[in-house]
Subunit: 213 residues, 2 copies
Amino acid sequence: MTLSPTPRTRLGREKQRAVFDRAELHAVLDAGLVCHLGVIVDGCPMVVPTGYGRVGETLYVHGSTGARSLRAAAGGSVCVTVTHLDGMVLARSVFNHSVNYRSAMVYGTARLVEDPEEKLAGLRALTEQLAPGQWDYARRPNRKELAATALLALPLDEASVKVRQGPPEDEPEDYALPVWSGVLPLVTRWGAPEPDPLLEHAAQVPPHIAGRA
Amino acid sequence: MTLSPTPRTRLGREKQRAVFDRAELHAVLDAGLVCHLGVIVDGCPMVVPTGYGRVGETLYVHGSTGARSLRAAAGGSVCVTVTHLDGMVLARSVFNHSVNYRSAMVYGTARLVEDPEEKLAGLRALTEQLAPGQWDYARRPNRKELAATALLALPLDEASVKVRQGPPEDEPEDYALPVWSGVLPLVTRWGAPEPDPLLEHAAQVPPHIAGRA
């Protein structure tokens, strides 16, 4: 299934890096942990890192009912960007240096989620995105906590995906230079779990957490 | 030296996570690889991942002369956010789940760098931020390449830093729950260098690259 390009998702440059495939969009979103939410506050852009989750073709973005960025986003135009940095592309020339990455940008009007069932489903997706297995393991939100949590919904209608992978692309005349070139991969992994010093019960790290590291 | 709070950098919530220290701002910026640049294009926010570098109290952000985001940013209001994700904070309740992170947000009006000397210094900072040692090792930009590269300057006048570290903070009544809690650290490191398949010369990985992995 393809994503229909709009003027702003039709990439103006580096067209070869554009991906118009819905499965690729889902893959980039599903592999992330936090997004960068862009909103307009008092006429100026504001970019806030925050958690998110996906349910089908809807992206849910986390906020607090008190946050200015969230008040500005609800009902307003937003851009949500998820970026994975996969490595440094070290070319023979400084100009052709690049990064290997996967990124998704989603544009649209954010809707404040008010329906209790949708809110629970969105929060579940968001929790599972950051910490798979925790929704069923930890204590679920009570009514007071749900009221203190704000959730934005954004349809995956208008989005673009950009991917750059592989070795450097140098100018033809630069290949003769005695300069090492290639990719320095960036690897992100989970470290060993660090127990809360106040942990009294459940000293054993459960498999859904231990299995991630 | 402290950062003087303005209405938008004075954090509306989670005040205990605010850091008003210029050294801390520099540390968060200097430890990053890419930023998320927020601009307004046709009245809507747009959030683009891109490279950056710092020279003293000026942040330089990379762009192409052809990119819409850059045309919108030059002379316009921008927000540059750098985020480091350090770990998942797994609490006893879903509500108290969090992430350990360091993030910096810089607000201001971006200036297109036109002075050739400043442009070279900014590009050097940007290159060294992503790939230390490469400015002196790879072929430097020629006149044509410099003309094809756009650079934005943003003063570090209005900025905020947020940091969250340490174990979960649960509700008093939740400490009795039989739920493991703690932090799952996120570790980012460099992998083994992958030589360009077209590499003919300089087969040896130079120390400034090999030493990073």
